[in-house]
Amino acid sequence: MTTFSGSMPNGSTVSEADGPAHARSRAVETLTYLAVGAAFGIVVVKTEVISWYRIQEMFRFQSFHMYGVLGSAMVTAMISLEILKRTGARALTGEPIVVPPKHLGTGSRYWIGGMIFGVGWALTGACPGPLFALIGSGATVYIAVGLAALVGTWTYGFLRPHLTH
């Protein structure tokens, strides 16, 4: 990829990191993930996994639906990862595919953070992805839920140095 720095014809200065080739590849990347997200959005609406009602069924253990969706998604992903590993597949960008392991640390961030998120999931019926999908489905009040989630994320970032991980 070519990058250059200097003055653009219109007089604006571009830094090396934000050269036109770089900006173009970033635009292509953004559009690609918009399209992937749109496909994902269709699936989560059609399978109803973004429904507060379905989440209630799940947490009350009264329907197999959510477990079926999440379980078969996980198994499909696991088989796919195995195939990617065995074939030594590379990403379109040319680099080898890597899934870096998560650091366990004391483990407390996973169970404490998980529990806090779980309470929020039961109350709102939405995890971060479905927040966006619900807004798109016309439940505009989830804009407020999403803003509250951003406040929560920001608060976590602020308190992070004082929390056990």
Partner: protein
């Protein structure tokens, strides 16, 4: 054929489709499925403040996640425009249980008794929408992942931390369902 596509998709169709997003994102650019990162990236882009957690190169490692999230919004809008807002065929025991919480009108994806602008002024509405939203953001960022990041991606990659997170998520969800929701009714 059309009726099958337009109707709700059974778990054995939707689940594997969701799972395929894991290899798709890895093949496209070595990205790991997950959406809690989009909340961090939006914070970093809009109000990083002096918080170290938001002082990272979000354009390189977070912009894709914001695009994915906005895509979700657009895709959901498209699905609803084509085949309407689905109303889940809910299990009868769940109908009975949520009726005891005052949710008697099962219509659409979320109950309007709890989730509406109007209900924002009620204790339950504010707790579920604002309190719940806050906990979703705080908890998923603290845990470093959500349902997709830990529940699908992490478990598929056989990550012990993700297994712990999923256990925590279910414990929290069950506790909130059986103790918190009845208490704020």
């Amino acid at each position: 054929m059309w009726r099958t596509i337009a109707g709700p998709w059974p778990w054995y169709v939707g689940g594997p489709l969701i799972g395929l997003f894991v290899p798709l994102l890895l093949l496209l650019g070595n990205r790991q499925l997950g959406l809690s990162g989009s909340l961090r990236a939006i914070c970093a882009a809009v109000v990083p403040g002096r918080v170290e957690f938001f002082r990272y190169d979000w354009k390189t490692s977070g912009l894709w996640n914001i695009a994915l999230a906005i895509g979700l919004l657009l895709g959901a809008a498209l699905a609803v425009a084509i085949s309407g807002v689905p109303t889940p065929a809910l299990a009868q025991p769940t109908r009975d249980a949520i009726a005891r919480l005052g949710v008697t009108n099962v219509s659409g994806l979320v109950p309007s008794e709890i989730f509406s602008w109007h209900a924002m002024l009620t204790a339950r509405g504010a707790t579920c929408m604002l309190g719940g939203g806050f906990l979703v953001g705080f908890g998923s960022s603290y845990a470093g992942g959500c349902t997709s990041g830990h529940g699908v991606m992490g478990l598929a990659a056989r990550q012990i931390p993700s297994l712990i997170a999923v256990c925590g998520i279910f414990a929290g969800g069950v506790l909130a369902t059986f103790f918190l929701l009845p208490a704020i009714h």
